[in-house]
């Protein structure tokens, strides 16, 4: 299990390659990368930066527990979570998840499970700062609802 909560940027491609090399028995590797939306896109119109706050005392333990659940539930060779906090800019990777398994279904399901729980149970809060002001990203009802399927 590899978990990093950090302010520093990371290279998702290099992390994917390192993870894949480490789990060479796996066969199937799934990754998810969350990226700050580009200001040039309609969805992100005017976004200048994102500020991510977290709860240092709780973050590591909460994600470790989520990862432990995933490793217990699916036949995973390993799992990786990297999550940034602090100031990020459009196009920056915010976080990534990777899972490795002999079975592609398990790798996909575990990655989705980790994402669903990280979205609603890991103590991070995102604030979007644009030309016209700043706003905290609201939790989506669908994200809370997504937990129901596990």
């Amino acid at each position: 299990m590899d978990l990093r909560v950090q302010a520093e940027a990371f290279d998702a491609g290099a992390e994917l390659n390192a993870f894949t090399a480490r789990v060479s028995g796996a066969g199937a590797v799934v990754s998810f990368t969350g990226v700050v939306r580009d200001a040039g896109q309609p969805q992100g119109g005017g976004l200048q930066r994102m500020e991510i706050e977290h709860y240092p005392g709780m973050t590591q333990a909460a994600i470790t527990e989520i990862m432990g659940q995933a490793l217990a539930r699916w036949p995973l060779v390993d799992a990786l979570v990297i999550h940034r906090f602090g100031t990020l800019h459009p196009g920056d990777p915010i976080m990534m998840v990777a899972t490795a398994s002999p079975h592609r279904e398990a790798a996909f399901q575990a990655a989705e499970f980790l994402m669903d729980y990280l979205k609603s149970r890991a103590p991070f809060w995102k604030k979007e700062v644009g030309a016209e002001g700043a706003a905290w990203v609201a939790a989506r009802d669908e994200d809370e609802g997504a937990l129901g399927r596990w």
């Binding site: 706050e53 709860y55 999550h83 979205k119 609603s120 149970r121 991070f124 905290w136 809370e144």
Partner: protein, 81 residues
């Protein structure tokens, strides 16, 4: 007891953490005490549906007892990922 505030809860109350003396038996009672203090607390705790609480770094509920708890954190629903 240490109180921690995150995101817009922190912004409304105006500080990230503070130490309080309380005899509140539950989280809900603690919230009532805080709301009675000042309008900024009343504003932060106006809508409990949009709030979450963690006791000693574990997600909990508003009716949870505070006995033995050292750190209470209030924050909006998390938006990780």
């Amino acid at each position: 007891m240490d109180l921690l505030y995150f995101a817009w809860v922190r912004e409304r109350i105006g500080l990230p953490r503070e130490r309080v003396e309380t005899r509140a038996a539950t989280v809900a009672q603690l919230i009532e005490e805080l709301k009675a203090r000042e309008p900024r607390y009343a504003a932060a705790f106006a809508d409990l549906n949009s709030l979450r609480v963690a006791l000693d770094q574990k997600l909990s509920s508003f009716d949870a007892p505070l006995a033995g708890v050292r750190e209470v954190a209030f924050f909006p629903p998390m938006t990780g990922g």
